[in-house]
């Protein structure tokens, strides 16, 4: 059987969708390689899955069949399973080390790799956060002592 799509050039919309999918995939790859927070790494993996979904739907539009759509539905299913199991692992890792840091598990690295050491850490920005405040209006209500006993803070 000869696939006609092998010779018919994709439409501009399909090509643009493929480019968007490629950009999302590359961004997710950079995040998974560079970031240290386990949860951010998982978000980046989900970003890569989104790029794949966009590419699959583009090809589905090009070929004019439902294969890509059905695959994306299965990607959604597997992503939900993966997120459930992986987040449980992340929680267990946090319970053991108290950090969401992938470098906390660097004792599992290959023996020929050097150790990750944080040499100098940047200082936290000390600019205090500003929150909006309501102007005082009306009279101050009398304090209800029973309510104050019931709960420490709202």
């Amino acid at each position: 059987m000869i696939l006609l799509a092998d010779v018919v050039a994709p439409s501009p919309l399909v090509l643009d969708g493929l480019v968007v999918g490629a950009i999302l995939f590359a961004l997710g790859l950079v995040g998974i390689l560079a970031r240290r927070n386990l949860i951010v790494m998982f978000l980046c993996a989900e970003l890569m899955l989104q790029g794949i979904s966009v590419s699959l739907v583009s090809w589905s539009r090009h070929h004019g069949d439902w294969g890509g759509h059905v695959l994306v539905i299965f990607v959604l299913t597997v992503a939900a399973c993966e997120a459930a199991v992986a987040l449980v692992f992340v929680l267990q890792a946090f319970a053991r080390t108290g950090r969401l840091d992938s470098a906390a598990w660097q004792s599992l690295r290959e023996s020929n790799l050097s150790r990750t050491i944080d040499h100098e850490l940047p200082a936290i920005d000390t600019v205090p956060l500003k929150f909006p405040k309501l102007a005082p209006a009306g009279i101050e209500p009398a304090a209800d002592e029973d309510a104050a006993l019931e709960r420490e803070h709202v």
């Binding site: 501009p12 995939f25 590359a26 560079a34 240290r36 539905i73 946090f94």
Partner: protein, 270 residues
Amino acid sequence: MIASILPSISPGTLLAGGVTATAASLWLLLPGGRSGAADRTARWLGWLLGIVALAGFIATGHRLGSVGEEAVFLTVALVAVISGAATVVSRSPVYAAIWFAMALAGVSGVLLVLGGQFLGVATIVVYAGAILVMFLFVLMLAQPAGLAPYDRVSNEPLLAAVAGAVLLGILSLSIGRLTAEPPACCLMGGTKAALLADSAAAEPATAAASGIDMLADNHVARLGGELFGRHLLAVEVAGVLLLVALIGSIAIVSRGAADAESAAARRAMP
């Protein structure tokens, strides 16, 4: 537009410039252990370079039919890409999750434009409604107060940014080649070409004319028919997979709790 303003720039140069700008932008934007004013300057420069790289990609992009279609696609694609970049480079994981929700909105728009009506809605419902909320729950359970040290540094940001940009360059190069004519070597002499010509004459070649219209009224019904007809076994397997994931995660949690209790008991014994 941009390509006509700068007619002297060849597509290859544009692509190389775009890849370089993407790599530099991602390297500057990723948390790199800088502090204070240097970090702010680097982030400004990074966003500027990112805009330059995006302009390059838009310039090499293909013109869609109408201005309205182009504007809609450009808007949702830019929302998806910029929010995706912000997800990757956000220092705080909570902000990263919120930006990821924004990127999901953009992706769902792109899916809608591409004709995936059901998938556009399902992405919002399943991802933003369920998976992202799960992420935020775990963040609330596990995130220490303030910015953790490991959120302010990256693993090899320069190498990661270059790797991602090079991958993006290769992908867009091969996507650009899709419009070219197939090379003569792959047609295997005259027979396949003749066959192609025959079948192309026998049935219409484009997707729009091949009888499956993605934008039909009964889109969801057709997708459901395909899913529960041809892919019924896969649907059953996916159901089993969901059940296994549910049982597995509960088992891991309760096992971990038992371990923690026994460890606490061992600590309390002496």
